[in-house]
Symmetry: D2
Subunit: 142 residues, 4 copies
């Protein structure tokens, strides 16, 4: 049975600009890290998000959820595991787990839900090449 | 019957730094606007968050949720309605609704859940002055 | 004698998202505050930057300089004084002084130099209405 | 004759969160990229900035300058060349050149000047281990 999602792993260091006066990362950075993880996941499917936009398929956010589970300080090396799956014909869902690379301690996790739209913002069915990019890679990895 | 939350209204303009190449606000800015709204709500209760931190009560995020409902472009004037309520003895919940000031069109809404901790990050019961700040103002406004 | 620049004053509070683990504002925020100040200065001339972009005149940065002169913590109320002046026929220069509103203590100062371009990025002469917006207001204020 | 600076090269991709509605990177991101480059340069000397802070030596910015020379879009791969040098006994100067990795086209360049302070913000002489970290590596590289 085919697994209906594509997974990707990424390492990323906390920047000084991402900290706040509490000494850990400022909360909105989690959504920026989720975005970096989506970018690298899509590149790994064989079609980058920059190429997707050039082909006229945008993935604006519809919903985002973050659970804050632990600290991450400046220069900490983080691990981000991300999965992507179609969620209906015109929507994608990414799930992210951010942990400390060294200790494995949980930092934050969550998900984002994205519409598939044309450049004018009109929802469209996910293009076949996008569905295939996700599924094809799954089969290659199966 | 006393309503168990405190509400606050705020206006805010979208900064150029908050846009992205899709022409609307970048998704993580919603969490930054929620924070500005929390700051002003707490000030309106009579005790600012900066004063809370000086008194040793911090409100780190535990959870955040955002629904993206419409566009907001550079220089658009937004309206943010925020409510705050105790959620148990050691937790606060803020709800936010961001709309276009002029048209009333929905932009984003969501909530954040916060622990109450001491400066070392240890969860503590919400201090009496915080509970009273929220409740007292409610009674004054009732 | 006519003074060849337009001045504007603004108040702004430091956001939590703008702090870093040193406890003061993160250095790049100064450029974001300069931008907010430019936006409000241009609005005060009678033509907002959003309207300028709609009319096809963009002001991309060519150069920026910041001197960091003092601390600004979360929730501090800042004062920003900004001046604008044409600098040749196709270039604008803004100067900014950020101080603590209450004490007057210096926080940061600097300048930005902007080209005037069309939407494709091609440098153009500053449109007459822009020159007049700056000069007209000066005369009204003189 | 010993060359009095230490050089470091870094690659970095433009994040979606770093773009603005002009379609290129928002101007303040250049200062954030300079910071990432400083972080990696210091790590390459054998002592990371996080370790420096733990040893009580901070490097707050005193001055920053950026020249904007070309566009960088979402997902563009950039190259950053950075040099560091002592500038007197209590000050460091970093210079940065950001170019497009593939084409070599200039994106931005500039410098930052940093005081050496203790955790209270008091200027101090650069600690011997910092001077040696910069010089030692230079000699190793010479």
């Amino acid at each position: 049975m085919s697994v209906s999602h594509f997974a990707h792993d990424l390492e990323l260091r906390v920047r000084y600009s991402e900290t706040d006066q509490m000494g850990t990362f400022y909360n909105s950075r989690a959504l920026e890290w989720f975005e970096v993880a989506r970018t690298e996941l899509l590149r790994a499917t064989g079609i980058s998000y920059a190429q997707m936009e050039q082909r006229g398929a945008l993935l604006p956010l519809v919903e985002a959820h973050v659970k804050y589970e632990g600290r991450a300080r400046y220069d900490d090396l983080l691990h981000i595991r991300t999965t992507a799956a179609m969620s209906g014909k015109a929507s994608l869902r990414f799930e992210c787990w951010i942990t400390q690379k060294e200790s494995g301690a949980a930092v934050a996790s969550g998900y984002t839900v994205h519409a598939v739209t044309d450049p004018s913002g009109k929802p469209t069915r996910a293009p076949q090449w996008l569905v295939e990019a996700l599924h094809g890679t799954i089969e290659k990895n199966a």
